[in-house]
């Protein structure tokens, strides 16, 4: 699947296109299919998101998983600071990245 990601213009937070808006959680990402470029152009023009782009991902049991490690680190947070990730209480969360 093709999912869309970028950074919130004001806060810089990593966000994912959920079909209506931009979510902080990659599991909300939807398959943008052949609409990716249209959505990206429209959303960047509204200034809700910055530097947005499309990436490959798969839908798995645990949710949406970006194909590349870089995007998985963006989705969760730095692997070396579990306390700063989106799942600070989950000691296993880092395994999902690798």
């Amino acid at each position: 699947m093709k999912i869309l990601t970028g950074n919130d213009l004001k806060t810089g937070a990593v966000v994912w296109w959920d079909g209506v808006s931009w979510s902080l959680h990659v599991e909300d990402a939807i398959d943008a299919g052949d609409q990716a470029e249209t959505i990206l152009a429209r959303e960047q023009a509204t200034r809700r998101v910055n530097a947005a782009y499309a990436i490959d991902a798969t839908r798995e049991e645990g949710g949406v998983r970006p194909a590349h490690i870089k995007e998985r680190i963006r989705a969760l947070g730095p692997t070396v600071r579990a306390d700063l990730t989106l799942k600070p209480a989950d000691p296993e969360a880092g395994n999902w990245v690798i």
Binding site: G12, N50, T79
Partner: protein
């Protein structure tokens, strides 16, 4: 320490308000990201993996305690309670909000700091010896010259759009503690036979994709014309540097392609021309700057003795303290490399503590080192035990300067959008595995970069590690034999790369080869240079 005059302050304050307006226009949609990006980069604001990242300049690595306290305040108020000290003697914050960036710059300006010259194709923040003004072996304090370069280069209209970024370092000792020959221009202040001071110019060094050691193009430029000489070096580069290919755009490629002789010939011709143009700042300005780098009011006739009865303290004293030129004092390196920690990171509380300790024990001064540590340059020996206790209680008392645990590591794929692989977890694992043998291994400089840009100086590590992307999987190349300093050398790749655990094992084996072959007081690097790559390869791959 240099103190802003009204001109400096006005320049920085004006810049803050200009950026505030630019941010407002971006948020209101009056300018696009394409238009805004170069403006935010000129103010040190990048967009990184998780958020905006702000890189704050620490000119030639020197801070006072109010400035360090402000860095802690920014970490708490605008970021997530910490910052990362970099190999360019700067500090980066990883979780910045665009809407707050102008307020941060205003807070910085209130303590004479800014984020100018930390990005873009301009002359970047000049680096220097972290022991400047304290080292016994310097011919003069190099910082007034670095400050003059700062003033000359800030917003220099001719050099704001160079072919690529441009990094300068200034030292004044035979021992090079600033990797001077791995800069676009390295300047070494020297004294000639007539006892006059001059600047030796080394041009065309650098790391990155094509590492090169800068050749000396002029061993003695009188100090009343060294800015003019630097300007000539820049002019020739600005004229001929490649703008068509980012990977060939640094001055090192130009010097290499023209050849040292031809490049030097052109610089000398330009220099002769510029001497007729009066571009050198007035000597009075240099004197005004010098007057602000006066020696602290050291106590004289004090004891040189230190009670070493606490063995942990004695080890730290041996490892992290450097002889000072003033009897009764030392320069202290505060390690930001606790065993298994994140190299170069410091919490807001640690920053405030370091600020307080600088105020109480080091005449209000601190330095950031290119090895991602912090120095208190002027500490009375009688105060060392109390200082160490305070540091140790805050996790800042690790005794590992230039040891296997004192690893330089760039942010890598945990934070950096250009990265191929993570650097920090590799550093942590090596530190945990080998720190227990730190004393046995002795001096060993290990440096890790998460991509070929080499921010982690891997080419110059006795052991270097480079993260690469092998079909979407992190892979690590091992290099041996690099060094910075008077005998600068570039590391050689051992062979095929490793996964994360494999690279830790490989480093472990390399240190084993050293220990098995070491003669006398040889360091890892000395043994490698004597026995060559073969035994290491055999142990690592065999």
């Amino acid at each position: 320490m240099y103190k802003y005059d009204t001109y400096d302050q006005q320049l920085v304050d004006t810049r803050v308000e200009e950026f505030r307006d630019q941010v407002r226009r971006r948020l209101e949609g009056h300018i696009t990201e394409d238009q805004f990006k170069p403006l935010r980069l000129m103010n040190g604001l990048y967009l990184q993996l998780h958020a905006y990242m702000l890189r704050v300049a620490v000119p030639y690595g020197t801070l006072n305690s109010a400035q360090m306290r402000m860095l802690g305040h920014i970490a708490d108020k605008y970021d997530r309670g910490y910052g990362h000290f970099t190999t360019r003697q700067n500090i980066q914050y990883n979780w910045i909000k665009l809407e707050q960036a102008p307020d941060i710059l205003a807070d910085l300006a209130s303590v004479e700091m800014h984020a100018i010259q930390t990005s873009g194709n301009c002359i970047r923040n000049t680096t220097s010896d972290q022991y400047a003004g304290a080292a016994a072996d310097e011919v003069v304090d190099p910082r007034p010259y670095a400050e003059l370069i700062r003033q000359w280069s800030t917003f220099h209209p001719e050099f704001s759009f160079l072919p690529r970024k441009f990094k300068m370092a200034v030292i004044a000792s035979d021992t090079d503690r600033a990797a001077m020959r791995l800069h676009d221009i390295g300047i070494k202040i020297v004294r000639n036979d007539a006892s006059d001071l001059g600047a030796a110019f080394y041009v065309g060094g650098g790391m990155g994709r094509t590492p090169m050691i800068a050749p000396c193009i002029n061993p003695f430029v009188p100090l009343d014309r060294f800015i003019t000489y630097a300007e000539a070096c820049l002019r020739v580069y600005n004229r001929h540097g490649r703008r068509d290919n980012k990977y060939k755009a640094r001055i090192k490629i130009l010097v290499h392609e023209l050849g040292k002789e031809e490049y030097t010939r052109q610089v000398e011709a330009e220099f002769a021309h510029l001497l007729t143009q009066g571009v050198e700042p007035p000597l009075a300005e240099l004197e005004r700057i010098k007057a602000q780098f006066t020696e602290p009011p050291f106590e004289v006739g004090i004891s040189d003795e230190v009670d070493r009865s606490d063995p942990d303290f004695a080890l730290w004293l041996e490892t992290n303290c450097l002889a000072h030129r003033q009897p009764g004092y030392v320069a202290v390196t505060i390690s930001l490399k606790p065993v298994g920690g994140i190299p170069g990171d410091a919490s807001a509380d640690q920053m405030r503590l370091m600020a307080d300790l600088a105020r109480d024990y080091s005449f209000d001064e601190l330095r950031v080192t290119h090895a991602q540590n912090v120095v208190l340059p002027h500490v009375k020996k009688a105060d060392l035990y109390a200082l160490w206790q305070a540091l140790d209680a805050a996790g800042l008392g690790t005794a590992n300067l230039d040891r296997i645990g004192d690893i330089i590591a760039c942010p890598g794929l945990d934070y950096c959008s250009l990265a191929n692989a993570r650097s920090i977890p590799v550093a942590q694992k090596i530190s945990e595995r080998l720190s227990p043998r730190s004393d046995e291994i002795g001096e060993l400089k290990l440096k890790i970069s998460g991509c070929i840009n080499a921010c982690g100086h891997h080419h110059a590590g006795h052991i270097g590690i480079l993260g690469v992307d092998r079909k979407g999987v992190e892979n690590y190349q091992l290099l041996l034999g690099g060094n910075e300093g008077a005998d600068t050398s570039l590391g050689t790749i051992t062979g095929p790369g490793f996964d994360e655990d494999g690279i830790v094992d490989a480093v472990d084996r390399a240190t084993g080869v050293y220990l098995a072959n070491k003669q006398g007081a040889e360091r890892f690097l000395d043994t490698y240079r004597r026995i060559g790559m073969a035994p290491f390869k055999e142990a690592i791959y065999g």
